[in-house]
């Protein structure tokens, strides 16, 4: 059985999902189930003067209608779970429905419950809401100015928080030989999972237990927060995340809508189902990014980087989302030096309230933004001093021998060897030859560019004491229980919560190697707060590093106990027992052995156990890692810009990632591909657009361009393995690396391609219209396009 870790094993999940046997929220049918719909604000900022529900109440099948006023005092406010210390953070109360004022297009106003799924939607049209328009604040920098309309009356200048880390005195910048400055707009994007959000509530009036199925990446966080919001014992609230069609951070958030469904189910004592529509999702589900990043990078003329100073002005939307405040501060600001040994660094972040949908973590959460700025700045600096961008990178990398490496912001990178993936990627690319070709093509009038991103990211959340110190309202350890049944089959309970990643497959490989049993003997229970005692869910590329770490420890405990039983049965001491490939043997004595299944049976029957050993074979482990993990790598993009149309073609995409131990190369490549698609999507196509009045203009897939498979060349992937000392598996995170790396790689390639026009920066997304205009105007980047 050994050797499963590292093998290309097909996903155990797929046969079920591909044959239509998944069990998603919308598959849930309960007797007497009612349907919910939410009337949302069409205005970015307005007072609710009156709500007329008379006609709606008379519509066929209507069971209940709730307004914000009806629920006042009955459902608590929806809190943020990341309250950054020392940032003068002002959390504006968010109620499940707007009470007297709406603050963004999509803000919930009225909840309708009816018997029929279609009927309930029609009822929304019968509700008349009289609004009085208020002036709006939409863009973060404008919103901070004096006299800007206030989103929340008592929050001055709309500043939600002001956070600083590190210090770089002015003279470090002013007296430096070389300083490059640039401002980047990391535009707002919509995570856009294939399945929108959903919630189904069922209340048992007999025992007072409320079950809530919802599209959550972290059911235990949902339970913790919602038990308070709904004023119900955590022991009586059961949150289950069924199969989920993607999250990408958008399903971390504890949303008002989920609280509403739980409340209505309890109030009406009937099951209630809510499935979000796609248009609704665009305006009411959290967005990602929307950060304006101003950077100054200083160094010497021979290419030694000495200081970096960054200011991030982040648009938080109308309310602080569950993880929102942590993204542009901790996740972003502590990683601004990237993979480089830059001795001085400082980051200042403003979080700003605006009349827009709230922003929260989106794949990478702060790290893609951070990587984008430093990797773009490196290219700008290289160009300024006339050095090859690869050489400048090498010159400033944190050196292999300096690991564990402490960056200028005080983070300790667990392990690293940044030259390794860079060299491998350059080899795949054939860099020298390509630079020559580029020159030749330029002479023919063809615009080809090469872009690098030698990233590192912080993930594998993480040490709980650190989480506490940075204001995270919870722990980030992980929990695993391994239950060995009398037959030797195994059920593993994990506090991580998969929504497309393939946990079942990779964790099976770990358990199979540990216990020496076949993959098909291992089943998993995730995402049910009643079945899994505790856990913190899946985000921040933590599942393998922390969840897998916990499973490994639990497996060791199983083996430890089983060895005692085997020794007892074989009449020898525990020290003489060797365990290999699912067999307990006495070293040097052939034939004297017990199989894992034998011990499973004898442990559960308990007819003959050694003294002091309890019956059954089950072990639980709670793993709180000592540090985060820091995967790294090199991504290279070769892009060609069509002079006449502004169209960009990705000619090659090379990704060499070092994520520590690769448990399954097949699923890892899948993660890399998906991550790249979302990063390239940000660079080239995606973008949430608001009008100056706060109207959402990109509210459908007709207006919001998603990456499609045909937009990409074959992605050339490879891995190097620099193990992490933080967990037993030596594994780092892989879910976000693709997104973190790819934005800068694409942007660097396109700016490089446009170099003949003197272009130094282009704002995302790279629409053909924008590029064409740049070419027409001979290099002027009109940021307003």
């Amino acid at each position: 059985m050994a050797g499963k870790v590292g093998a290309r094993i097909k996903r155990k999940e797929d046969p079920r999902l591909l044959t239509g046997n998944g069990y998603f929220s919308d598959d849930i049918q309960l007797p007497g189930m009612l349907h919910a719909a939410i009337l949302r604000s069409p205005h970015a900022h307005a007072l609710i003067k009156s709500i007329n529900i008379e006609k709606a109440l008379e519509a066929p099948g209507v069971v209940a209608i709730y307004t914000g006023k009806d629920l006042e005092g009955k459902i608590g406010r929806i809190p943020s779970s990341w309250l950054i210390p020392g940032s003068n953070l002002k959390e504006a109360p968010q109620y499940p429905l707007a009470i007297d004022r709406v603050r963004y297009v999509g803000d919930g106003v009225v909840l309708v419950i009816a018997e029929d799924r279609y009927g309930v939607r029609d009822v929304l049209d019968l509700i008349e809401v009289d609004y009085e328009f208020l002036p709006v604040s939409v863009r973060q920098k404008e919103a901070m100015q004096e006299n800007a309309p206030l989103v929340h009356d008592d929050i001055e200048n709309n500043i939600a928080f002001h956070w600083k880390a590190g210090e770089v005195p002015d003279e470090e910048i002013e007296e430096a030989e070389v300083v490059v400055r640039e401002s980047f707009n990391v535009q707002r994007v919509a995570p856009s999972p294939i399945e929108t959000r959903a919630a189904i509530g069922q209340y048992n009036p007999g025992n007072g237990e409320l079950t809530l199925w919802c599209t959550s990446q972290n059911p235990h966080i949902h339970r913790m927060v919602l038990s308070e919001v709904l004023d119900i014992s955590e022991a009586k609230l059961r949150v289950i995340a069924p199969d989920i069609g993607g999250g990408f951070g958008g399903k971390i958030g504890v949303y008002p809508d989920e609280a509403l469904i739980g409340y209505a189910a309890r109030d009406l004592k009937q099951p209630v189902k809510w499935i979000e529509e796609r248009n609704e999702h665009f305006s009411a589900a959290n967005h990602g990014r929307d950060e304006i990043i101003d950077v100054e990078l200083a160094g010497t003329r021979d290419g030694k980087l000495t200081a970096i100073r960054v200011k991030n002005t982040a648009n938080m939307g109308a309310y602080l989302s569950t993880f929102g405040p942590g993204v542009p501060t901790i996740d972003f600001g502590l990683m601004i030096t990237g993979a480089y040994d830059i001795p001085k660094a400082a980051c200042e972040t403003f979080g700003v309230y605006t009349n827009t949908t709230s922003t929260d973590a989106y794949r990478g959460a702060g790290k893609p933004e951070s990587t984008y700025q430093i990797e773009r700045m490196i290219d700008l600096f290289a160009r300024e001093i006339g050095m090859d961008p690869v050489e400048l990178r090498r010159k400033n990398f944190a050196k292999k021998e300096d690991f564990p490496f402490t960056n200028a912001q005080g983070l300790v990178y667990d392990s690293g060897d940044y030259e390794k993936p860079l060299n491998k990627a350059l080899e795949i690319l054939d860099y020298k030859k390509l630079r020559e070709e580029q020159e030749a093509l330029r002479n023919e009038g063809k615009l080809v560019g090469i872009g690098f991103s030698t990233y590192v990211e912080l993930c594998g959340f993480g040490p709980s004491a650190v989480a506490g110190a940075i204001g995270f309202q919870g722990g980030v350890w992980e929990n695993a229980t391994i239950r060995v049944h009398p037959s030797g089959k195994v059920t593993v309970f994990s506090g991580t919560s998969p929504h497309g990643q393939g946990h079942n497959t990779t964790f099976s490989q770990v358990v199979s190697d540990k216990l020496g049993i076949p993959l098909e003997d291992i089943e998993f229970v995730f995402s049910d707060t009643k079945a899994v005692s505790m856990g913190w869910g899946t985000y921040g590329s933590r599942s393998v590093a922390v969840g897998g770490g916990a499973i490994s420890i639990a497996a060791d405990r199983i083996i430890e106990k089983a060895k005692k039983i085997a020794a007892h049965e074989l009449e020898t001491s525990v020290e003489d027992i060797e365990f290999e490939d699912g067999v307990f043997k006495i070293s040097g004595v052939p034939g004297m052995e017990r199989k894992f299944v034998d011990i499973a049976k004898s442990a559960n029957y308990a007819w003959n156990l050694p003294e002091g050993v309890e019956p059954a074979l089950e072990a639980q482990a709670f793993f709180d890692p000592e540090n985060f993990v820091y995967p790294f790598g090199t991504h290279i993009v070769v892009a060609e810009v069509d002079k006449d149309t502004g169209q960009i073609e990705l000619k090659r995409y090379i990704a060499v990632d070092d994520v520590g131990r690769v448990i399954n190369p097949l699923t890892s490549e899948g993660q890399v591909h998906g991550g790249i698609a979302q990063g390239v999507g940000q660079a080239m196509w995606e973008g949430i657009v608001y009008s100056d009045q706060g109207q959402l203009l990109s509210g459908s897939f007709m207006d919001y361009t998603m990456p499609k498979a045909r937009f990409f060349p074959t992605i050339e992937t490879a891995f190097t393995e620099t193990l992490s000392p933080v967990n037993q598996l030596g594994a780092k995170g892989i879910g976000e690396t693709g997104t973190t790396a790819s934005i800068a790689a694409v942007m660097n390639a396109v700016v490089d391609a446009l170099q003949p026009y003197g272009v130094t920066d282009v704002e995302m997304p790279l629409t053909p219209e924008k590029i064409w205009n740049i070419i027409q105007t001979g290099g002027e980047n009109d940021d307003t396009i």
Partner: protein, 148 residues
């Protein structure tokens, strides 16, 4: 969003254009898909219009108000329309200028839209508005010829 439209009523004197465009019956005929058009008070109307913009179709109830009347040169037109696809809030300046060719009517409107109209219809609404307004003026033009 600003919508600007210029229409020349060829050979029609300004006072005729002014009178025609104020005529309740003419307005009812010329407004797109107009099902109801009632005068609520002087220069204030309540109407129901059927609008069809690309993928968005629906019935709109509209309150129309004319104010700042400077006969026969200019007036201000406020339209607040509400329907399933969203709301339209238009504030239009209507200018009438007599030229050798006829009467030139310039309409400059600041238009706010919400709901699906905004999130899906925004990109096409400018073009559609042009067609709708153009058709409206053409229909008014026909009526002025009758009057003239």
């Amino acid at each position: 969003m600003q919508i600007e439209h210029v229409y020349t009523f060829k050979g029609i004197p300004r006072n005729i254009v002014w009178e025609t465009i104020q005529d309740k019956e003419v307005l009812q005929k010329a407004l797109p898909g107009c099902k109801v058009f009632e005068e609520v008070e002087e220069n204030k109307y309540h109407s129901v219009l059927g609008i069809n913009i690309g993928p968005i179709k629906g019935e709109f109830t509209a309150d129309v108000q004319q104010l700042d009347m400077e006969e026969p040169e200019a007036y201000r037109l406020l339209v607040k329309a509400k329907g399933k696809p969203g709301e339209i809030d238009a504030d239009a300046a209507m200018q009438f200028e007599e030229t050798a060719e006829g009467t030139v009517l310039t309409c400059i409107a600041e238009v706010q839209i919400t709901g699906l109209l905004a999130s899906i219809g925004q990109r096409v609404i400018g073009g559609v508005a042009k067609v709708v307004i153009g058709q409206f003026f053409k229909d008014v033009d026909k009526e002025t010829k009758k009057a003239a």
